[in-house]
């Protein structure tokens, strides 16, 4: 009798204490541009609304390849933390088995508000393993002031871009066109845009390797010629990632830049040399082939929950908070990241702060995904290694394409 009474009291005490105690959620986060600061503000607000939950941010390295490696470490160790993972668009298939199926936690109406291309991207084997947080698409930044000075229109074809960049860069003694050419995931994105814009493909809709075509060769040749023939891109572009190219463009040292939307608020910041002088446009299209079109690679980042997390309900709460229209609008305005919720594109405050979301709405909507495969990281490495080898003259364009094709076929067992 006495013993059970003590047990009861202890149990009560535990219950009372645990209801006051806070649950700690660990979340991985990016730190490119302004996004970390913005996220910190959002997290603060979330914690004020939910006093029982404490969120700890774990900043990740800038390169998506490094982030992937870290996620492999956490997940294969079956650790309960980090609870909330910040994944690149290409990651969900690889990590699917380690992530919580979010379908039961979201109603169909809630899911209908999202950008459907991204929802499809995050669905693997009929499980919704991540929720889109922001979408990305490769776009062309140009110096509106310089184009006007020389009487040019924003380029619609690569040939036009080359011609304009040549004239302006020679007269102004600055670089013509900067992009991402280092041997990493970003180069695959850039290369895909060139390939698609010339009407080519690396894998067809059935996943068959179709990279040994004149279109793909022309795409790679164009990239190569920009560096060595037309000299509009510095040789150093073969070592640049996103931030390297942004530094040059933001310093006023380049006419054109291919990059993601996150650059916009930074380029417009008060300390930016090019503030008020920048325009954005869809990337140019190729010429000379049927099926040439303006292409943008679909990028973006997803939020997912670690299957081993001990706080799944609280983590879902955080996901819903961060993907709510208000928070997405706040993030779009302050970090320049395109919302994953469609209605936010029409938010007047968002349009005012980042006009490109409205003007380039179709670009986001039609952005082209990269191959959806659990071994995507290996597919991509074959692509960027060979493209980078051609751009640094270790292989000729033909050799690089032939090697890429045979390596992809071997990798995919074709």
């Amino acid at each position: 009798m006495k013993r059970s009474l003590i047990l009861m009291v202890v149990l009560m005490a535990v219950l009372v204490i645990s209801s006051f105690a806070t649950v700690t959620i660990v979340m991985t986060a990016g730190a490119v541009g302004a996004e970390l600061q913005v996220l910190q503000t959002q997290i603060k607000e979330f914690m004020q609304q939910n006093p029982g939950i404490k969120v700890v941010l774990m900043p990740m390295p800038n390169s998506t390849t490094d982030r992937y490696n870290l996620d492999v470490t956490y997940l294969s160790a079956q650790m309960p933390e980090p609870d909330v993972l910040f994944l690149d668009t290409i990651d969900p298939p690889a990590f699917a088995d380690f992530l919580v199926n979010l379908k039961p936690y979201f109603t169909d109406q809630e899911l209908a508000q999202f950008f459907q291309g991204a929802i499809n991207n995050d669905t693997y084997n009929n499980r919704l393993v991540a929720i889109p947080w922001f979408v990305d698409a490769g776009i062309l930044y140009y110096r509106a002031d310089l184009l006007q000075k020389y009487g040019f229109q924003p380029p619609t074809t690569w040939d036009q871009l080359i011609q304009e960049a040549q004239v302006i860069s020679q007269k102004e003694h600055i670089q013509g066109f900067v992009w991402q050419g280092a041997a990493y995931e970003g180069l695959t994105c850039d290369f895909m845009e060139f390939v698609h814009s010339y009407g080519g493909q690396i894998l067809d809709d059935n996943g068959k390797v179709v990279s040994d075509t004149p279109q793909v060769k022309t795409a790679l040749q164009t990239m190569y010629d920009m560096i060595y023939k037309y000299k509009i891109s510095p040789v150093g572009v073969t070592t640049y990632q996103e931030e390297d190219s942004r530094h040059i463009f933001q310093n006023g040292d380049a006419v054109f830049m291919r990059n993601w939307p996150y650059c916009w608020p930074l380029l417009q910041a008060t300390d930016s040399v090019v503030r008020g002088k920048v325009g954005v446009e869809v990337l140019p299209e190729g010429t000379g082939f049927p099926g040439v079109h303006h292409s943008a690679t679909l990028g973006g980042w997803e939020l997912a929950i670690n299957k081993y997390s001990e706080h799944i309900p609280e983590a879902v709460k955080l996901l819903k908070f961060l993907t709510s229209p208000q928070q997405e609008a706040y993030k779009a305005i302050n970090a320049g990241q395109a919302p994953s919720v469609l209605s936010v594109f029409n938010d007047p405050a968002v349009i005012k702060a980042v006009p490109l979301f409205k003007s380039l709405y179709d670009v986001f909507l039609n952005a082209e995904p990269r191959p959806k495969s659990p071994i995507y990281a290996q597919i991509s490495q074959v692509i960027y290694d060979n493209v980078n080898a051609a751009l640094t003259q270790q292989e000729t364009v033909d050799q690089a394409i032939a090697k890429m094709t045979s390596q992809l076929k071997q990798l995919l067992g074709q």
Binding site: V72, P234, G236, Q394
Partner: protein, 301 residues
Amino acid sequence: MSKARSDPLHKSDPIYALFFIIPSVFVIVLIAFWPLAQTFYNSLFKSALMFPQNKIFVGLSNYGALWQDPRFVNDLWNTVRFTGWSVSIETVLGILVALMLNKKFKLRGLVRAAVLVPWAIPTVVSSEMWRWMYNDNYGVINSILMSLHIIKQPIVFLAFPATAMPAIISVDVWKTTPFMILLILAGLQMIPDELYEAARIDGANAWQRFWSVTFPMIRPTIGIALIFRSLDAMRVFDIVFIMTKGAANTETLSVYNQWTLFTRGFITPYFGYGSAMSVMIFLIIGVLAIFYVRMMKIRLD
């Protein structure tokens, strides 16, 4: 020896010794041998990290496959190149600077401390720093070369095989020469002045004094420094991973190993293969260590 054994005070020594050694042996087994054994065990299977249930025993065939892998052979050669160049340059520079710092001059203590700064900076930080210094647009190295009119166009050091490996080797030389200096300086300070005095009386000039007194005396120290540095250089990872990620034919064994274990071995059944590679790197380094130790022993005897 026999006296000590009969001495009752020292009789219990072996028991005490065993007592004191056990904890450290336990720690070494736990942190060094256990993971090694685990890695070796993993290397006998064909498996993916994500599907541990689908393990297939393949014996030692992963080890044979390594030598059929052109990327492995190429990276081994890269690693050897890196080690050969960096360690020899570091040794020569280390001896020269240590000899200088062994002379008496004003502010010697300050200079000795200052020399250590590169060694004190974490490799990740110094690699990032050098990556910036090599940058073609804003890097200080290109800026100096351009303003001295040595080059007209900036050199993109990290993009091409001809410059990328030397650039990486320079960073390693900058970073670890202080370590060499430190060890060799310690060796130099052990040499008694009498030896030099005797040499002087015999009429030896500076060159002869170096080869007949200094060098033989610091040879064991150099040997130890060489072991440390070579073993370290053979498993170089951080500098390469940060500066090029293995682009421009700078990939070393450890960088390839990391990629095999993570990117490839997570989903596709290459985790065992990656483990075999880790063990192989261990064996290569082990053979090198034995070779060095043997060489030293002959000298010491």
